[in-house]
């Protein structure tokens, strides 16, 4: 039989998730600055790549007259 979840279950799940997210976040905040900069470097590479991809898509769309 399929279990029916109550709003109490949802509240419990959400509280657990929020607490886990917060613990993960605090762990990231407490990382050494040098490690945080390495992560930032990777995030930047992704962001720059995505932005260039978007620009390339836009220019190809305008070339095609879309």
């Amino acid at each position: 039989m399929k279990r029916v979840y109550s709003s109490k279950d949802f509240t419990k799940f959400w509280k657990k998730k929020t607490e886990a997210d917060e613990r993960r976040r605090l762990k990231d905040i407490r990382l050494p600055f040098s490690r945080k900069l390495e992560i930032l470097d990777e995030l930047m590479e992704e962001a720059i790549f995505l932005s260039e991809l978007k620009r390339a898509e836009k220019s190809s769309m305008s070339r095609e007259g879309v």
Binding site: S34, K36, L37, I39, L40, L43, M44, A47, I48, S51
Partner: protein, 171 residues
């Protein structure tokens, strides 16, 4: 690491006397205080008048760094904000905190000055950053209010209103 390589370029220019001083704001400063967050550029606040700013650009150009959504230094777009754009920036650069990155000492905006720059721009992500700084970092609120009163004159009222709105949301 590319971010450090880019900052080393500015460190060298400062050591050679080309630039008087600079400090880092934006995502790099946020990363120091909280966790890393996605960004497309590094924000450098340069202590410079119009001529000094122009000279810095000329020198960077001669060094082979070209403009493309900010000047690209060591593969990273850098947004150079000269202090002549706003009187508040000179004070923010002077009062920045010195932080060691690899083998260089870099000045980073203090949380109060970082919040002030974010109150000025106030996009969605700036609001989140301000909220996080209050949540995870010791922010000196009276000092921040003094900065806003002293450095922004006509804009102070609006910035204080924005600040208090965020503080209310935080409660």
């Amino acid at each position: 690491m590319r971010i450090i390589k880019a900052l080393k370029v500015f460190d060298d220019l400062k050591k050679k006397g080309v630039i008087r001083d600079y400090a880092v704001g934006g995502a790099v400063a946020m990363t120091y205080y909280v966790e890393p967050r996605a960004t497309r550029d590094v924000d450098i606040f340069l202590l410079a008048d119009y001529e000094e700013h122009k000279l810095t650009w000329d020198i960077l150009d001669k060094l082979g760094y070209k403009y493309k959504e900010g000047i690209v230094i060591e593969d990273i777009p850098v947004d150079i904000v000269p202090s002549f754009q706003h009187p508040f920036y000179s004070e923010a650069i002077r009062k920045s905190k010195k932080v060691r990155m690899d083998n260089i000492l870099v000045k980073i905006f203090t949380p109060e000055y970082l919040i002030a720059t974010k109150l000025l721009v106030f996009r969605g992500k700036d609001r989140i950053d301000i909220f996080d700084l209050f949540r995870y970092v010791k922010v000196n609120l009276p000092k921040l209010e003094t900065i806003l009163h002293g450095g922004f004159k006509g804009e102070a009222g609006l910035l204080l209103k924005r600040l208090h709105k965020i503080l209310e949301e935080e409660d």
